[in-house]
């Protein structure tokens, strides 16, 4: 944490009586790709708006590039590019004209805008569609144009709100790779929010999980799984051909195996969590019990599991 470019201290925001963001502390370093994860309505967008000074916090402070975002939003907006979710463009203008407008608003000289527009459209792979009206753009193209729209301003920080929303799977992969590449090439700090865990997992250096206005955990994915799952860091799912026998006999027997922490059975599958990797012992046990094992799967913790695990521990919050 030697060089934080975004620093949030005790950020709090109410919408009426609802607490949208609750005492949020977060710092993001220069050149990092940070993923802000959370379900819809968790307060991700609100947090982003406060970083840009577009919404005033009720308490706390957001400092971006060393500037107080609430007090001096214009200076922050000069350094930070923000792509809102479902970013729109002026449909009656071409992509180039849209970019030119943004360039002019940022005080870029008329001659330079044209050159930069060509350059950025090349970067995002839209140079063929430069003179097309944006009403003819597909959703994925619009997202790319949104990125070009950020890059033309040469920002220090890019904030992308739900950048993967509404693009098809292969488009998402391309788009995220593009962000990753650009970030690494130009040393950009990227903050992206999403409720899609897989997407973010691919490119983020660090993620923070954000639910009901609170940042529950943050760190890289390995640290996160360690934090959430504690000692039970291995999970094995054993699938058998016939349905598992009813009653707790089998469950108790599995529980008795040294190293097993928890057992959950449903239908044909038994999920066993254990403190060390005892998969061979488990398989041997099942075979000895005369069960026809059709599949054994050692689970690795992706964000999905982290996410799910969090909601398992906090059933109250799922309904919210």
């Amino acid at each position: 944490m030697e060089n934080p470019i975004i620093q949030l201290e005790g950020l709090t925001k109410y919408y009426g009586k609802v607490k949208a963001v609750d005492n949020l502390h977060l710092s993001i370093n220069k050149g990092e790709i940070f993923g802000l994860l959370g379900p819809n309505g968790a307060g991700k967008t609100t947090t982003i708006l406060m970083m840009l000074g577009l919404s005033d916090p009720n308490a706390g402070q957001a400092t971006v590039c060393g500037i107080n975002a609430t007090r001096n939003p214009i200076a922050v907006k000069r350094k930070v590019g923000y792509m809102p979710d479902n970013a729109g463009f002026y449909d009656n203008l071409t992509a180039l004209e849209n970019l030119q407008y943004i360039g002019r608003l940022n005080g870029i000289g008329e001659k330079e805008i044209e050159a930069r527009a060509h350059q950025t459209m090349e970067m995002v792979g839209l140079s063929d569609a430069l003179h097309k009206k944006t009403s003819a753009y597909s959703r994925g193209m619009k997202q790319r144009l949104g990125l070009a729209d950020l890059l033309i301003r040469e920002p220090e920080v890019m904030i992308l709100d739900e950048p993967t929303l509404g693009i098809d799977p292969s488009g998402i992969r391309d788009f995220l790779e593009l962000i990753h590449r650009l970030s690494r090439q130009q040393g950009l700090t990227v903050l992206l929010s999403s409720h899609h865990l897989h997407h973010v997992q691919q490119i983020c250096d660090r993620v923070g999980i954000f639910v009901e206005g609170k940042l529950l955990v943050q760190g890289d994915i390995n640290t996160l799984s360690g934090e959430l799952f504690g000692k039970e860091s291995f999970e094995v799912a054993v699938t058998v051909r016939e349905a598992l026998p009813a009653g707790d006999g089998l469950k108790a027997a599995v529980q008795a195996i040294p190293g097993v922490i928890g057992v959950q059975a449903s239908g044909h599958t038994m999920d066993i969590s254990c403190s060390s990797d005892i998969t061979p012992d488990l398989v041997r046990f099942f075979v000895r019990q005369g069960l026809n094992v059709t599949g054994v799967q050692r689970k690795e913790y992706g964000l999905d599991e982290i996410y799910q695990r969090f909601f398992e521990n906090n059933p109250k919050k799922v309904s919210a």
């Binding site: 708006l49 809102p84 608003l105």
Partner: protein
Amino acid sequence: MPSMPVFIDKLFSAPESPTPFRTMVRKEVGDHIRSWRFITMLLLIVLTFIGSMYISLSNIRKVVTEINDPDHVYVYLKLLTTAGNGMPAFHIFISFLGPLLGIALGFDAINSEQNSGTLMRLLAQPVYRDNILLAKFYAALLVVSTMFLSLVLLMIGGGLLITGVSMEAAELLRILAFVVISVVYVGFWLSLAICLSVRFRHAATSALTAIGIWLFFTVFYQLIVNMLMAAILPDPAYLDPAQVNAFNNLILSLLRVAPSQLYTDAATTLLMPSIRSLGPLSMEQMAGAIPAPLSFGNSLMIVWPQVTGLIAATLVFFALTYYLFMRKEIRH
């Protein structure tokens, strides 16, 4: 003169990097003049203008030779105000086309940008929030004033060619003042429409609300005032003249709540120099008055309350818009 070309150069070339405000105004003006709704409104206004000019030009000989009319020397004012053959004068047309123009230019100023997602992107640029609002208002007014001014100048030029009568300075001043008042009047409806566009999320809702307000003031308001007054007022036969006068003034004041009434009052007085008062005059006041045109300054004095009222109403709505927009949580 070596400095001259430099001066002209500065006048006509855009600065290297204009301020965000100028950039926004430029874009808004461009959007307006390319939009179908402005072109439609323009055609409508140009058509009524040509129609009323045609009528007044064909009647102009009769009107300016009418010696009993103290205004007969003002040929150009007569061109603007002469009505006939069921065709009302141009300023009467503007009194009900003006609101439509203002509403057409403003009803979706903010909410369409919000719905298409461009407002958020615009706000993420280093621009002040109030500049967005101001640019919208300013650009529309710029378009409207250019339109009115060119129409009126066309009228003057055409009149000069057709009649060959030279123009008095007072006439030009009156006509320019008429243009200014018309622009302020359209500005009132524009600021009302922009206010509604901030308040309502859907463009259709804000357009219908604005048109509803317009209809209320042009059609129903006078009916309601007249009906109410007929119900409340005692029989004038039992009142002394001072009381009748007071009641008449009350009715007029009530009618002047409607912006179109203010506009018509102001425009009529400015374009017809012989109008001395907008309310009833008693015989004592009229005694000894020679029917002669007033000076421009005096006419302006008569309509000053109307002008102030229109400007104040415009400012109130603009301030309200400003308040609503600055306080708006842009996510909602």
